[in-house]
């Protein structure tokens, strides 16, 4: 890890700790005050971020970028239906492993801070498209209407899963993952759907 990346990570962690302790609404936290609470010079933060919103956006994008890369590579390498099925399952595993301890704060910010809302909407569209491709490949033979409806259900389930995982510890995330994957599988195998 490069030195400046280490520094950036340290700033993010400290910022999240301070924000959590302050128990304030995110948009009311003044940036200079945050630097004071974190006990680091103000210009050290502004070297990387210009606002609280920037810190959250950075975190949101960091996880999204990694998942997107994982999905793109996985889709490229998925030759068989089983590969695609495995890709969907491992995506959720990768996702929970990537979520930081403060993901509840990032989740919360994504509902209000404008840039974070924008990113949230963008990535939701992206996931919808990619999930559709994976389902089509992994569970072939579905007509378009069924594919669309099942994709929506998987997408909404994934967002419920995200909300849950953002608020629980790493151990609980892993516990529910197996059940969650089983349930998604069951749903996608459902031949009686419609």
């Amino acid at each position: 890890m490069k030195v400046d990346v280490q520094k950036k990570v340290k700033i993010i962690r400290k910022a999240m700790d301070s924000i959590r302790k302050s128990d304030k609404t995110l948009h009311t936290i003044a940036f200079p005050r945050l630097a004071e609470e974190m006990d680091i010079p103000f210009n050290e933060i502004t070297e990387f971020f210009l606002s609280i919103e920037d810190i959250f956006l950075n975190e949101q994008k960091r996880v999204n970028r990694k998942i997107e890369n994982f999905l793109e590579t996985g889709l490229k390498n998925a030759k068989t239906a089983n590969d695609a099925k495995e890709l969907l399952e491992t995506t959720f595993l990768t996702f929970i492993e990537l979520l930081p301890d403060y993901s509840d704060l990032v989740f919360s910010a994504s509902f209000y801070l404008p840039k974070c809302i924008e990113e949230r909407n963008r990535v939701k569209q992206y996931y919808r498209q990619v999930f559709r491709k994976i389902i089509k490949k992994g569970w072939p033979g579905k007509i378009d209407a069924v594919l669309d409806r099942q994709t929506d259900l998987v997408l909404l389930s994934a967002y419920g899963f995200y909300e849950y995982c953002a608020t629980v510890g790493k151990r609980e995330r892993k516990v529910i993952l197996k059940d969650f994957n089983n349930m998604i599988n069951l749903h996608l195998q459902d031949r009686l759907f419609f």
Partner: protein, 194 residues
């Protein structure tokens, strides 16, 4: 509370929501401006609410309390597994039917404002407890562990459903509700679960 107070409170909520819809910024909401628009004194508004967060929290509580009352009536009347299944399904139906036109905005604020997040978490536990009771009696014969895990999954999915359904047009909500309920049913009927 008399009718005029109740009407005024409703007007205050509507003004605040309209303002949020336009600016998307909580800090832009001014009690003075709302009071001016409604032709009442600012102290009258301050006697009900101390902040915008209070306004949103009250709407959140009011909506959920009403939903719980409806739900409890059906749970109380239920005797057979069929009745309990019905009470389980009616909850989702009622939830979708009673969503306001500003449900998207409400959800975003409820996931962001600290007091609303706390209430949301408390309510989530309450909803989960009711799901557990209904699953136990609507789909009898599950051991405690399975019951716990299936309840957790249903709760996770429900919250994903909430996030999805408030962001789509009213006409599409009913369609996805049907698919969502089918998915839950399939999951709860799954005898191979474990």
């Amino acid at each position: 509370m008399d009718r005029s107070t109740s009407n005024l409170k409703e007007k205050v909520v509507n003004r605040a929501i309209n303002s949020l819809r336009k600016d998307k910024r909580i800090e832009q909401i001014s009690f003075a401006a709302i009071a001016r628009e409604l032709g009442v004194g600012i102290e009258e508004i301050s006697s009900f609410y101390t902040s915008t967060e209070d306004i949103i929290l009250e709407v959140q509580k009011k909506n959920w309390e009403s939903l719980h009352r409806y739900w409890d009536r059906h749970i109380k009347k239920a005797n057979t597994p069929g009745d309990f299944k019905n009470a389980f399904e009616l909850f989702f139906e009622r939830f979708v039917d009673t969503l306001s036109k500003d449900a998207d905005l409400h959800l975003e604020l409820c996931c962001y404002l600290p007091k609303c997040i706390k209430y949301r978490e408390k309510n989530r536990q309450k909803v989960k407890q009711k799901f557990k009771n209904l699953i136990k009696r609507g789909w009898p014969g599950k051991d405690e562990k399975v019951l716990e895990r299936q309840t957790e999954l249903v709760t996770v999915l429900f919250y994903g459903f909430v996030d999805h359904v408030v962001h789509i047009p009213k006409t599409e909500r009913t369609k996805i509700l049907r698919d969502f309920r089918n998915m839950l049913n399939l999951h709860l009927q799954d005898r191979k679960f474990f």
